[in-house]
Protein backbone atom coordinates (compact mmCIF):
# COMPACT_ATOMS: atom_id res chain seq x y z
CA UNK A 1 0.00 0.00 0.00
CA UNK A 2 2.74 2.37 0.95
CA UNK A 3 4.56 1.74 -2.27
CA UNK A 4 1.53 2.67 -4.30
CA UNK A 5 0.99 5.86 -2.37
CA UNK A 6 4.64 6.66 -2.98
CA UNK A 7 4.23 5.89 -6.65
CA UNK A 8 1.23 8.19 -6.97
CA UNK A 9 3.17 10.88 -5.17
CA UNK A 10 6.04 10.45 -7.59
CA UNK A 11 3.65 10.69 -10.51
CA UNK A 12 2.31 13.99 -9.25
CA UNK A 13 5.81 15.28 -8.52
CA UNK A 14 6.83 14.35 -12.03
CA UNK A 15 3.91 16.34 -13.31
CA UNK A 16 4.98 19.39 -11.36
CA UNK A 17 8.55 18.99 -12.55
CA UNK A 18 7.36 19.12 -16.12
CA UNK A 19 5.26 22.16 -15.40
CA UNK A 20 8.21 23.87 -13.77
CA UNK A 21 10.47 22.83 -16.64
CA UNK A 22 8.06 24.25 -19.14
CA UNK A 23 8.07 27.50 -17.26
CA UNK A 24 11.76 27.79 -16.58
CA UNK A 25 13.28 26.59 -19.80
CA UNK A 26 12.53 29.58 -22.05
CA UNK A 27 13.55 31.91 -19.27
CA UNK A 28 16.81 30.21 -18.37
CA UNK A 29 18.26 29.40 -21.75
CA UNK A 30 20.55 31.83 -23.47
CA UNK A 31 18.53 33.93 -25.82
CA UNK A 32 15.50 36.05 -25.66
CA UNK A 33 12.50 34.62 -23.82
CA UNK A 34 10.27 36.44 -26.23
CA UNK A 35 11.83 34.51 -29.09
CA UNK A 36 11.24 31.24 -27.27
CA UNK A 37 7.73 31.99 -26.28
CA UNK A 38 6.51 33.36 -29.56
CA UNK A 39 8.77 31.72 -32.04
CA UNK A 40 9.65 34.96 -33.69
CA UNK A 41 13.13 36.44 -33.51
CA UNK A 42 13.57 39.97 -32.30
CA UNK A 43 15.05 41.13 -35.57
CA UNK A 44 11.95 40.14 -37.47
CA UNK A 45 9.66 42.34 -35.45
CA UNK A 46 8.98 46.01 -35.18
CA UNK A 47 9.68 47.50 -31.75
CA UNK A 48 5.96 48.00 -31.11
CA UNK A 49 5.19 44.39 -31.96
CA UNK A 50 8.01 43.30 -29.67
CA UNK A 51 6.69 45.39 -26.83
CA UNK A 52 3.18 44.13 -27.32
CA UNK A 53 4.44 40.56 -27.15
CA UNK A 54 6.44 41.33 -24.04
CA UNK A 55 3.47 42.69 -22.20
CA UNK A 56 1.16 39.96 -23.47
CA UNK A 57 3.58 37.42 -22.10
CA UNK A 58 3.86 39.35 -18.83
CA UNK A 59 7.64 39.33 -19.16
CA UNK A 60 7.96 42.74 -17.53
CA UNK A 61 6.46 41.48 -14.32
CA UNK A 62 8.15 39.52 -11.54
CA UNK A 63 9.02 35.85 -11.99
CA UNK A 64 6.57 34.85 -9.31
CA UNK A 65 3.72 36.67 -11.05
CA UNK A 66 4.73 35.14 -14.37
CA UNK A 67 4.56 31.70 -12.84
CA UNK A 68 1.07 32.43 -11.60
CA UNK A 69 0.00 33.55 -15.05
CA UNK A 70 1.45 30.35 -16.40
CA UNK A 71 -0.37 28.21 -13.88
CA UNK A 72 -3.54 30.03 -14.73
CA UNK A 73 -3.09 29.23 -18.38
CA UNK A 74 -2.82 25.59 -17.41
CA UNK A 75 -5.79 25.69 -15.09
CA UNK A 76 -8.17 27.43 -17.43
CA UNK A 77 -7.44 24.89 -20.10
CA UNK A 78 -5.85 27.09 -22.69
CA UNK A 79 -2.33 25.81 -22.12
CA UNK A 80 -0.93 28.93 -23.60
CA UNK A 81 -1.22 30.57 -26.96
CA UNK A 82 0.62 29.69 -30.12
CA UNK A 83 1.57 32.84 -31.94
CA UNK A 84 2.75 30.97 -34.97
CA UNK A 85 -0.50 29.21 -35.52
CA UNK A 86 -2.58 31.97 -33.95
CA UNK A 87 -4.69 29.63 -31.93
CA UNK A 88 -5.02 28.50 -28.40
CA UNK A 89 -2.69 25.59 -27.77
CA UNK A 90 -5.29 23.36 -26.18
CA UNK A 91 -7.56 23.74 -29.17
CA UNK A 92 -4.75 22.76 -31.50
CA UNK A 93 -3.94 19.72 -29.44
CA UNK A 94 -7.56 18.80 -28.91
CA UNK A 95 -8.13 18.42 -32.64
CA UNK A 96 -5.31 15.95 -32.96
CA UNK A 97 -5.39 14.10 -29.69
CA UNK A 98 -8.22 11.88 -30.80
CA UNK A 99 -6.23 10.54 -33.71
CA UNK A 100 -3.26 9.75 -31.52
CA UNK A 101 -5.50 7.88 -29.14
CA UNK A 102 -6.95 5.86 -31.99
CA UNK A 103 -3.51 4.40 -32.41
CA UNK A 104 -2.18 4.42 -28.86
CA UNK A 105 -5.10 2.88 -26.98
CA UNK A 106 -5.61 -0.19 -29.19
CA UNK A 107 -1.85 -0.70 -29.25
CA UNK A 108 -1.52 -0.62 -25.47
CA UNK A 109 -4.42 -3.01 -25.10
CA UNK A 110 -3.27 -5.47 -27.72
CA UNK A 111 0.40 -5.41 -26.77
CA UNK A 112 -0.22 -5.96 -23.06
CA UNK A 113 -2.91 -8.60 -23.42
CA UNK A 114 -1.01 -10.50 -26.10
CA UNK A 115 2.13 -10.19 -24.03
CA UNK A 116 0.32 -11.63 -21.03
CA UNK A 117 -1.17 -14.66 -22.72
CA UNK A 118 1.78 -15.46 -24.91
CA UNK A 119 4.13 -14.96 -21.99
CA UNK A 120 2.01 -17.14 -19.71
CA UNK A 121 1.81 -19.85 -22.32
CA UNK A 122 5.55 -19.92 -22.77
CA UNK A 123 6.12 -19.88 -19.02
CA UNK A 124 4.01 -23.03 -18.68
CA UNK A 125 6.03 -24.65 -21.40
CA UNK A 126 9.37 -23.44 -20.08
CA UNK A 127 12.35 -24.94 -21.83
CA UNK A 128 10.32 -26.34 -24.70
CA UNK A 129 11.08 -25.58 -28.31
CA UNK A 130 8.11 -23.25 -28.52
CA UNK A 131 9.28 -21.27 -25.54
CA UNK A 132 12.84 -20.99 -26.77
CA UNK A 133 11.74 -19.90 -30.22
CA UNK A 134 9.27 -17.38 -28.84
CA UNK A 135 11.84 -15.92 -26.51
CA UNK A 136 14.46 -15.73 -29.24
CA UNK A 137 12.00 -14.08 -31.60
CA UNK A 138 11.09 -11.50 -29.02
CA UNK A 139 14.67 -10.82 -28.07
CA UNK A 140 15.48 -10.03 -31.66
CA UNK A 141 12.27 -8.04 -31.98
CA UNK A 142 13.24 -6.01 -28.97
CA UNK A 143 16.39 -4.93 -30.75
CA UNK A 144 14.52 -3.49 -33.72
CA UNK A 145 13.71 0.23 -33.41
CA UNK A 146 10.10 1.18 -34.00
CA UNK A 147 10.79 3.20 -37.11
CA UNK A 148 12.77 0.42 -38.76
CA UNK A 149 9.88 -1.94 -38.12
CA UNK A 150 7.44 0.57 -39.56
CA UNK A 151 9.49 1.07 -42.69
CA UNK A 152 9.94 -2.65 -43.16
CA UNK A 153 6.20 -3.23 -42.81
CA UNK A 154 5.45 -0.51 -45.32
CA UNK A 155 7.87 -1.99 -47.80
CA UNK A 156 6.31 -5.40 -47.48
CA UNK A 157 2.64 -4.58 -47.14
CA UNK A 158 2.27 -1.39 -49.10
CA UNK A 159 4.73 -1.59 -51.89
CA UNK A 160 5.50 -5.17 -52.46
CA UNK A 161 2.03 -6.43 -51.76
CA UNK A 162 -0.17 -3.36 -51.98
CA UNK A 163 -2.41 -4.60 -49.23
CA UNK A 164 -2.72 -1.52 -47.07
CA UNK A 165 -2.55 2.23 -47.46
CA UNK A 166 0.34 3.90 -45.80
CA UNK A 167 -0.67 7.48 -45.39
CA UNK A 168 -3.34 9.29 -43.55
CA UNK A 169 -6.41 8.15 -41.78
CA UNK A 170 -8.89 8.04 -44.58
CA UNK A 171 -8.77 7.87 -48.31
CA UNK A 172 -10.22 10.69 -50.38
CA UNK A 173 -13.73 10.37 -51.55
CA UNK A 174 -15.13 8.45 -48.64
CA UNK A 175 -17.89 10.30 -46.86
CA UNK A 176 -17.74 10.50 -43.08
CA UNK A 177 -20.51 8.89 -41.09
CA UNK A 178 -20.96 5.89 -43.33
CA UNK A 179 -20.02 2.31 -42.67
CA UNK A 180 -17.63 2.51 -45.58
CA UNK A 181 -15.89 5.36 -43.77
CA UNK A 182 -15.42 3.29 -40.67
CA UNK A 183 -14.09 0.36 -42.66
CA UNK A 184 -11.78 2.66 -44.52
CA UNK A 185 -10.54 4.12 -41.27
CA UNK A 186 -9.88 0.66 -39.90
CA UNK A 187 -7.93 -0.20 -43.00
CA UNK A 188 -5.78 2.86 -42.53
CA UNK A 189 -5.31 2.20 -38.84
CA UNK A 190 -4.39 -1.43 -39.26
CA UNK A 191 -0.76 -1.01 -40.19
CA UNK A 192 0.10 1.77 -37.73
CA UNK A 193 -1.50 -0.09 -34.84
CA UNK A 194 0.09 -3.39 -35.84
CA UNK A 195 3.48 -1.75 -36.10
CA UNK A 196 3.17 -0.16 -32.69
CA UNK A 197 2.04 -3.46 -31.20
CA UNK A 198 4.92 -5.30 -32.87
CA UNK A 199 7.34 -2.72 -31.54
CA UNK A 200 6.19 -2.84 -27.93
CA UNK A 201 5.10 -6.48 -27.67
CA UNK A 202 8.58 -8.04 -27.29
CA UNK A 203 9.39 -6.32 -24.01
CA UNK A 204 5.88 -7.02 -22.66
CA UNK A 205 6.19 -10.67 -23.59
CA UNK A 206 9.58 -11.06 -21.95
CA UNK A 207 8.46 -9.32 -18.80
CA UNK A 208 5.30 -11.40 -18.46
CA UNK A 209 7.05 -14.63 -19.30
CA UNK A 210 9.75 -14.07 -16.70
CA UNK A 211 7.28 -12.95 -14.05
CA UNK A 212 5.06 -15.94 -14.71
CA UNK A 213 8.05 -18.29 -14.65
CA UNK A 214 8.94 -16.85 -11.27
CA UNK A 215 5.43 -17.46 -10.00
CA UNK A 216 5.44 -21.02 -11.31
CA UNK A 217 8.57 -21.65 -9.27
CA UNK A 218 6.89 -20.45 -6.11
CA UNK A 219 6.16 -22.91 -3.36
CA UNK A 220 2.43 -22.35 -3.42
CA UNK A 221 2.22 -23.48 -7.02
CA UNK A 222 4.20 -26.60 -6.14
CA UNK A 223 1.83 -27.25 -3.26
CA UNK A 224 -1.14 -26.82 -5.55
CA UNK A 225 0.32 -29.47 -7.83
CA UNK A 226 1.02 -31.67 -4.83
CA UNK A 227 -2.63 -31.42 -3.94
CA UNK A 228 -3.46 -32.69 -7.39
CA UNK A 229 -5.30 -29.55 -8.48
CA UNK A 230 -5.99 -29.46 -12.18
CA UNK A 231 -3.76 -27.44 -14.48
CA UNK A 232 -6.69 -25.23 -15.39
CA UNK A 233 -7.44 -24.49 -11.78
CA UNK A 234 -3.82 -23.67 -11.07
CA UNK A 235 -3.68 -21.32 -14.04
CA UNK A 236 -6.87 -19.56 -13.15
CA UNK A 237 -6.76 -19.39 -9.40
CA UNK A 238 -3.10 -19.64 -8.46
CA UNK A 239 -1.13 -17.99 -11.23
CA UNK A 240 -3.41 -15.36 -12.72
CA UNK A 241 -4.38 -13.61 -9.47
CA UNK A 242 -0.73 -13.40 -8.52
CA UNK A 243 0.33 -11.98 -11.85
CA UNK A 244 -2.46 -9.41 -11.80
CA UNK A 245 -0.54 -6.68 -10.04
CA UNK A 246 2.65 -6.86 -12.12
CA UNK A 247 0.44 -6.96 -15.19
CA UNK A 248 -1.54 -3.87 -14.25
CA UNK A 249 1.63 -1.97 -13.41
CA UNK A 250 3.00 -2.97 -16.78
CA UNK A 251 -0.08 -1.63 -18.53
CA UNK A 252 0.35 1.71 -16.82
CA UNK A 253 3.96 1.97 -17.91
CA UNK A 254 3.08 0.84 -21.42
CA UNK A 255 1.13 4.01 -22.02
CA UNK A 256 4.36 5.96 -21.86
CA UNK A 257 6.16 3.66 -24.26
CA UNK A 258 3.27 3.66 -26.69
CA UNK A 259 2.93 7.41 -26.65
CA UNK A 260 6.58 7.71 -27.54
CA UNK A 261 6.25 5.06 -30.20
CA UNK A 262 3.14 6.59 -31.70
CA UNK A 263 5.12 9.73 -32.33
CA UNK A 264 7.36 7.86 -34.71
CA UNK A 265 4.44 5.99 -36.24
CA UNK A 266 2.47 9.16 -36.89
CA UNK A 267 5.43 10.64 -38.66
CA UNK A 268 5.93 7.70 -40.94
CA UNK A 269 2.31 6.97 -41.68
CA UNK A 270 1.41 10.65 -42.00
CA UNK A 271 -1.28 10.42 -39.37
CA UNK A 272 -2.37 13.91 -38.31
CA UNK A 273 -2.07 13.29 -34.62
CA UNK A 274 -0.21 14.87 -31.75
CA UNK A 275 3.12 13.43 -32.78
CA UNK A 276 2.95 15.11 -36.14
CA UNK A 277 1.86 18.30 -34.43
CA UNK A 278 4.97 18.10 -32.29
CA UNK A 279 7.37 17.67 -35.19
CA UNK A 280 5.65 20.51 -37.00
CA UNK A 281 5.97 22.64 -33.90
CA UNK A 282 9.66 21.95 -33.72
CA UNK A 283 10.33 22.74 -37.33
CA UNK A 284 8.44 25.98 -37.04
CA UNK A 285 9.96 26.75 -33.64
CA UNK A 286 6.55 27.04 -32.06
CA UNK A 287 7.62 26.73 -28.47
CA UNK A 288 4.28 27.27 -26.73
CA UNK A 289 2.84 24.45 -28.76
CA UNK A 290 5.80 22.22 -27.90
CA UNK A 291 5.35 22.94 -24.24
CA UNK A 292 1.66 22.29 -24.48
CA UNK A 293 2.23 18.90 -26.05
CA UNK A 294 4.81 18.00 -23.43
CA UNK A 295 2.31 18.96 -20.77
CA UNK A 296 -0.49 16.91 -22.27
CA UNK A 297 1.72 13.88 -22.82
CA UNK A 298 2.98 13.95 -19.26
CA UNK A 299 -0.57 14.41 -18.03
CA UNK A 300 -1.65 11.32 -19.99
CA UNK A 301 1.15 9.30 -18.51
CA UNK A 302 0.62 10.46 -14.97
CA UNK A 303 -3.05 9.68 -15.34
CA UNK A 304 -2.25 6.20 -16.62
CA UNK A 305 0.12 5.52 -13.73
CA UNK A 306 -2.30 6.81 -11.12
CA UNK A 307 -5.09 4.77 -12.65
CA UNK A 308 -3.07 1.56 -12.79
CA UNK A 309 -1.78 2.01 -9.25
CA UNK A 310 -5.28 2.62 -7.97
CA UNK A 311 -6.49 -0.55 -9.63
CA UNK A 312 -3.56 -2.40 -8.08
CA UNK A 313 -4.53 -1.16 -4.66
CA UNK A 314 -8.13 -2.22 -5.22
CA UNK A 315 -7.06 -5.66 -6.33
CA UNK A 316 -4.50 -6.21 -3.61
CA UNK A 317 -5.63 -8.93 -1.22
CA UNK A 318 -3.88 -7.14 1.60
CA UNK A 319 -6.25 -4.26 1.16
CA UNK A 320 -9.34 -6.34 0.49
CA UNK A 321 -8.72 -8.26 3.68
CA UNK A 322 -9.66 -5.18 5.57
CA UNK A 323 -7.76 -2.01 5.97
CA UNK A 324 -4.30 -3.29 6.77
CA UNK A 325 -1.95 -1.11 4.77
Amino acid sequence: MKQYRRSILSALLCFFVVIALNFLLPRLLPGDPVAYLTGFAEEDMSPEKYESYRSALHLDESQGKQFLYYLRSLADGTLGYSYKKEAVVSALIGEKLGYTLQITLPAVLLATVLGLFWGLDCAYKRGSVGDKLSSALNIVGNAVPTFVLALAFIVVFCFKKRLFPYTGLNSDGVTPGTAAYVLDRLKHLFLPVTTLVAATLPSRFLLMRNTAAGILDEKYVLYARERGLSKRKIKRAYVLPNIAQPFITMVGMSVSTCVGGSLVIENIFSIPGMGRLLTDAIYSLDYPLMQGILFVTTAMMVLAIILSDTVCILVDPKRRAGGRA
Binding site: A143, F147, L151, I154, I282, L294
Partner: protein, 269 residues
Protein backbone atom coordinates in the same frame (compact mmCIF):
# COMPACT_ATOMS: atom_id res chain seq x y z
CA UNK B 1 24.08 -21.93 -12.03
CA UNK B 2 22.97 -21.68 -15.62
CA UNK B 3 25.19 -22.63 -18.46
CA UNK B 4 27.42 -19.84 -19.65
CA UNK B 5 26.19 -18.71 -23.06
CA UNK B 6 29.39 -19.26 -25.00
CA UNK B 7 27.79 -19.22 -28.40
CA UNK B 8 26.06 -15.92 -27.79
CA UNK B 9 29.25 -14.39 -26.44
CA UNK B 10 31.29 -15.45 -29.44
CA UNK B 11 28.66 -14.22 -31.85
CA UNK B 12 28.29 -10.95 -30.01
CA UNK B 13 32.00 -10.32 -29.81
CA UNK B 14 32.46 -11.16 -33.47
CA UNK B 15 29.79 -8.68 -34.50
CA UNK B 16 31.20 -6.04 -32.17
CA UNK B 17 34.62 -6.56 -33.62
CA UNK B 18 33.21 -6.15 -37.09
CA UNK B 19 31.48 -2.91 -36.22
CA UNK B 20 34.45 -1.54 -34.33
CA UNK B 21 36.63 -2.24 -37.33
CA UNK B 22 34.06 -0.56 -39.50
CA UNK B 23 34.16 2.51 -37.32
CA UNK B 24 37.89 2.67 -36.99
CA UNK B 25 38.81 1.96 -40.59
CA UNK B 26 35.91 2.15 -42.99
CA UNK B 27 38.37 2.29 -45.80
CA UNK B 28 39.04 -1.39 -45.29
CA UNK B 29 35.53 -2.29 -46.32
CA UNK B 30 35.12 -0.13 -49.32
CA UNK B 31 37.26 1.23 -52.11
CA UNK B 32 35.07 4.20 -52.70
CA UNK B 33 35.40 7.48 -50.89
CA UNK B 34 32.47 9.00 -49.06
CA UNK B 35 31.95 11.71 -51.62
CA UNK B 36 32.65 9.78 -54.80
CA UNK B 37 29.89 10.62 -57.22
CA UNK B 38 28.03 8.10 -59.23
CA UNK B 39 24.69 8.13 -60.98
CA UNK B 40 21.91 8.61 -58.48
CA UNK B 41 19.54 5.94 -57.30
CA UNK B 42 21.34 3.04 -58.85
CA UNK B 43 19.96 -0.41 -58.06
CA UNK B 44 22.06 -2.79 -56.03
CA UNK B 45 24.68 -4.41 -58.22
CA UNK B 46 28.11 -5.91 -58.07
CA UNK B 47 29.82 -2.51 -58.00
CA UNK B 48 27.35 -1.02 -55.58
CA UNK B 49 26.05 -3.78 -53.32
CA UNK B 50 23.46 -1.46 -51.82
CA UNK B 51 22.98 0.91 -54.68
CA UNK B 52 23.56 4.65 -54.63
CA UNK B 53 21.61 7.34 -52.87
CA UNK B 54 19.91 10.56 -53.89
CA UNK B 55 23.18 12.43 -54.14
CA UNK B 56 24.89 9.70 -56.06
CA UNK B 57 27.07 8.41 -53.26
CA UNK B 58 27.59 4.72 -52.72
CA UNK B 59 25.22 3.58 -50.03
CA UNK B 60 27.46 0.84 -48.71
CA UNK B 61 30.29 3.33 -48.20
CA UNK B 62 27.96 5.68 -46.40
CA UNK B 63 26.85 2.78 -44.26
CA UNK B 64 30.38 1.95 -43.20
CA UNK B 65 31.25 5.54 -42.38
CA UNK B 66 28.03 6.03 -40.46
CA UNK B 67 28.96 3.16 -38.15
CA UNK B 68 31.46 5.44 -36.49
CA UNK B 69 28.89 8.12 -35.78
CA UNK B 70 26.35 5.71 -34.38
CA UNK B 71 28.87 4.03 -32.13
CA UNK B 72 30.38 7.33 -31.05
CA UNK B 73 27.13 8.86 -29.87
CA UNK B 74 25.92 5.56 -28.44
CA UNK B 75 29.06 4.87 -26.45
CA UNK B 76 29.63 8.43 -25.22
CA UNK B 77 26.11 8.81 -24.00
CA UNK B 78 26.10 5.43 -22.32
CA UNK B 79 29.36 6.17 -20.51
CA UNK B 80 27.78 9.38 -19.24
CA UNK B 81 24.65 7.43 -18.33
CA UNK B 82 26.77 5.01 -16.37
CA UNK B 83 28.50 7.77 -14.45
CA UNK B 84 25.29 9.65 -13.78
CA UNK B 85 23.31 6.55 -12.95
CA UNK B 86 25.93 5.19 -10.58
CA UNK B 87 26.34 8.50 -8.80
CA UNK B 88 22.63 9.07 -8.34
CA UNK B 89 22.01 5.45 -7.46
CA UNK B 90 24.64 5.49 -4.73
CA UNK B 91 23.53 8.86 -3.41
CA UNK B 92 19.91 7.76 -3.29
CA UNK B 93 20.78 5.20 -0.65
CA UNK B 94 22.03 7.77 1.84
CA UNK B 95 19.71 8.45 4.70
CA UNK B 96 18.12 11.79 5.27
CA UNK B 97 17.40 14.58 2.86
CA UNK B 98 20.12 13.66 0.37
CA UNK B 99 18.85 10.13 -0.06
CA UNK B 100 15.22 11.19 -0.22
CA UNK B 101 16.00 13.81 -2.84
CA UNK B 102 17.87 11.51 -5.16
CA UNK B 103 15.39 8.71 -4.65
CA UNK B 104 12.59 11.06 -5.60
CA UNK B 105 14.65 12.13 -8.59
CA UNK B 106 14.85 8.54 -9.76
CA UNK B 107 11.14 7.98 -9.31
CA UNK B 108 10.32 11.13 -11.23
CA UNK B 109 12.59 10.39 -14.13
CA UNK B 110 11.13 6.89 -14.45
CA UNK B 111 7.82 8.47 -15.28
CA UNK B 112 8.91 11.14 -17.72
CA UNK B 113 7.96 10.47 -21.34
CA UNK B 114 11.47 9.99 -22.63
CA UNK B 115 11.14 10.49 -26.33
CA UNK B 116 8.85 13.49 -26.10
CA UNK B 117 11.12 15.22 -23.62
CA UNK B 118 14.14 14.53 -25.78
CA UNK B 119 12.41 15.94 -28.83
CA UNK B 120 11.17 19.04 -27.07
CA UNK B 121 14.56 19.70 -25.51
CA UNK B 122 16.43 19.20 -28.72
CA UNK B 123 13.95 21.58 -30.28
CA UNK B 124 14.93 24.16 -27.70
CA UNK B 125 18.63 23.48 -27.73
CA UNK B 126 19.24 22.68 -31.33
CA UNK B 127 20.59 19.50 -32.84
CA UNK B 128 24.28 18.80 -32.66
CA UNK B 129 26.27 15.77 -31.70
CA UNK B 130 27.19 17.12 -28.28
CA UNK B 131 23.64 18.11 -27.51
CA UNK B 132 22.44 14.70 -28.56
CA UNK B 133 24.92 12.94 -26.30
CA UNK B 134 24.10 15.19 -23.38
CA UNK B 135 20.36 14.86 -23.78
CA UNK B 136 20.35 11.11 -24.23
CA UNK B 137 22.47 10.65 -21.11
CA UNK B 138 20.16 12.98 -19.25
CA UNK B 139 17.21 10.71 -19.85
CA UNK B 140 18.70 7.25 -19.95
CA UNK B 141 20.45 6.92 -16.62
CA UNK B 142 17.36 5.76 -14.75
CA UNK B 143 17.69 2.02 -15.41
CA UNK B 144 21.27 1.99 -14.17
CA UNK B 145 20.42 4.09 -11.12
CA UNK B 146 17.67 1.73 -10.06
CA UNK B 147 19.85 -1.35 -10.38
CA UNK B 148 22.73 0.34 -8.58
CA UNK B 149 20.40 1.39 -5.79
CA UNK B 150 19.08 -2.14 -5.35
CA UNK B 151 22.59 -3.61 -5.34
CA UNK B 152 23.97 -1.03 -2.91
CA UNK B 153 21.08 -1.65 -0.54
CA UNK B 154 21.92 -5.33 -0.73
CA UNK B 155 25.61 -4.67 -0.08
CA UNK B 156 24.83 -2.48 2.91
CA UNK B 157 23.09 -5.39 4.52
CA UNK B 158 26.23 -7.49 4.43
CA UNK B 159 27.99 -7.92 7.78
CA UNK B 160 31.34 -6.71 6.53
CA UNK B 161 29.91 -3.23 5.99
CA UNK B 162 29.07 -2.99 9.66
CA UNK B 163 32.60 -4.04 10.50
CA UNK B 164 34.07 -1.35 8.28
CA UNK B 165 31.93 1.33 9.83
CA UNK B 166 32.91 0.29 13.32
CA UNK B 167 36.57 0.38 12.37
CA UNK B 168 36.08 4.00 11.57
CA UNK B 169 36.75 4.16 7.86
CA UNK B 170 35.42 7.28 6.26
CA UNK B 171 32.25 7.11 4.21
CA UNK B 172 34.08 8.04 1.05
CA UNK B 173 36.67 5.36 1.58
CA UNK B 174 34.02 2.72 2.12
CA UNK B 175 32.14 3.87 -0.94
CA UNK B 176 35.15 3.89 -3.23
CA UNK B 177 37.12 0.89 -2.01
CA UNK B 178 34.45 -1.49 -0.88
CA UNK B 179 31.08 -0.72 -2.38
CA UNK B 180 32.16 0.21 -5.89
CA UNK B 181 34.17 -2.94 -6.62
CA UNK B 182 31.18 -5.03 -5.60
CA UNK B 183 29.04 -3.13 -8.04
CA UNK B 184 31.23 -3.97 -10.97
CA UNK B 185 29.21 -6.94 -12.24
CA UNK B 186 25.93 -5.06 -12.16
CA UNK B 187 27.53 -2.03 -13.75
CA UNK B 188 29.04 -3.97 -16.59
CA UNK B 189 25.89 -5.76 -17.65
CA UNK B 190 23.71 -2.67 -17.22
CA UNK B 191 26.24 -0.61 -19.16
CA UNK B 192 26.04 -2.97 -22.11
CA UNK B 193 22.26 -2.87 -22.05
CA UNK B 194 22.41 0.87 -21.63
CA UNK B 195 24.43 1.16 -24.83
CA UNK B 196 21.54 -0.58 -26.53
CA UNK B 197 18.92 1.86 -25.44
CA UNK B 198 21.21 4.80 -26.17
CA UNK B 199 21.67 3.52 -29.70
CA UNK B 200 17.93 3.10 -30.06
CA UNK B 201 17.26 6.62 -28.85
CA UNK B 202 19.97 8.06 -31.04
CA UNK B 203 18.64 6.27 -34.09
CA UNK B 204 15.08 7.31 -33.44
CA UNK B 205 16.03 10.91 -32.86
CA UNK B 206 18.24 10.96 -35.94
CA UNK B 207 15.49 9.42 -37.99
CA UNK B 208 13.06 12.08 -36.87
CA UNK B 209 15.54 14.67 -38.02
CA UNK B 210 17.07 15.68 -34.73
CA UNK B 211 20.40 14.09 -35.31
CA UNK B 212 23.56 15.83 -36.32
CA UNK B 213 23.25 16.29 -40.06
CA UNK B 214 26.95 16.80 -40.55
CA UNK B 215 27.83 13.52 -38.93
CA UNK B 216 25.24 11.15 -40.30
CA UNK B 217 24.62 8.03 -38.26
CA UNK B 218 22.58 5.08 -39.41
CA UNK B 219 19.43 6.71 -38.17
CA UNK B 220 20.21 9.84 -40.15
CA UNK B 221 20.81 7.73 -43.23
CA UNK B 222 17.36 6.27 -42.96
CA UNK B 223 15.98 9.77 -42.52
CA UNK B 224 17.66 10.85 -45.75
CA UNK B 225 16.44 7.78 -47.55
CA UNK B 226 12.92 8.29 -46.34
CA UNK B 227 12.78 12.00 -46.98
CA UNK B 228 14.28 11.79 -50.42
CA UNK B 229 11.88 9.26 -51.76
CA UNK B 230 13.46 5.87 -51.33
CA UNK B 231 9.98 4.38 -51.29
CA UNK B 232 9.04 5.72 -54.64
CA UNK B 233 12.32 4.69 -56.17
CA UNK B 234 12.02 1.27 -54.57
CA UNK B 235 15.50 1.73 -53.12
CA UNK B 236 14.72 -0.65 -50.27
CA UNK B 237 18.32 -1.59 -49.65
CA UNK B 238 19.16 2.02 -48.94
CA UNK B 239 16.20 2.32 -46.66
CA UNK B 240 16.55 -0.84 -44.68
CA UNK B 241 20.25 -1.75 -44.56
CA UNK B 242 21.10 0.83 -41.88
CA UNK B 243 18.16 -0.56 -39.92
CA UNK B 244 19.60 -4.03 -40.16
CA UNK B 245 22.93 -2.74 -38.91
CA UNK B 246 21.23 -1.11 -35.93
CA UNK B 247 19.53 -4.38 -35.08
CA UNK B 248 22.77 -6.35 -35.38
CA UNK B 249 24.69 -3.87 -33.26
CA UNK B 250 21.99 -3.98 -30.58
CA UNK B 251 21.96 -7.74 -30.58
CA UNK B 252 25.72 -7.93 -30.33
CA UNK B 253 25.76 -5.81 -27.17
CA UNK B 254 22.90 -7.86 -25.80
CA UNK B 255 24.67 -11.15 -26.44
CA UNK B 256 27.82 -9.93 -24.74
CA UNK B 257 25.79 -8.67 -21.79
CA UNK B 258 24.31 -12.16 -21.34
CA UNK B 259 27.76 -13.37 -20.40
CA UNK B 260 28.03 -10.89 -17.58
CA UNK B 261 24.65 -11.11 -16.00
CA UNK B 262 24.77 -12.84 -12.65
CA UNK B 263 21.10 -13.37 -12.09
CA UNK B 264 17.79 -13.37 -13.93
CA UNK B 265 17.76 -10.40 -16.19
CA UNK B 266 14.41 -8.73 -15.87
CA UNK B 267 13.49 -6.78 -18.96
CA UNK B 268 13.09 -3.12 -18.11
CA UNK B 269 10.82 -0.71 -19.86
Amino acid sequence: MKKKPYFALVLGLALLLLFTLMSAAPGLFTDYGLKDMFPQWLRPSAEHPLGTNAMGYDVATELFYAARETLYVGLCSSVLCLALGTLIGVLSVRTGVVGAFFNALINIFVLLPRLICLIVLSGFLGASRQNLIALISLFNWVGIARNVRAKVLHIHEQPFMEALRIQGFSRLHIALCHVLPNLSDVLLSRFLLGVNSCIMLESTLSFLGFGDLYHPSWGTMINFAYKRGAFLRQAYAYLLSPGLCIVLLSLSFYFVSLWFEDRQNSIEE
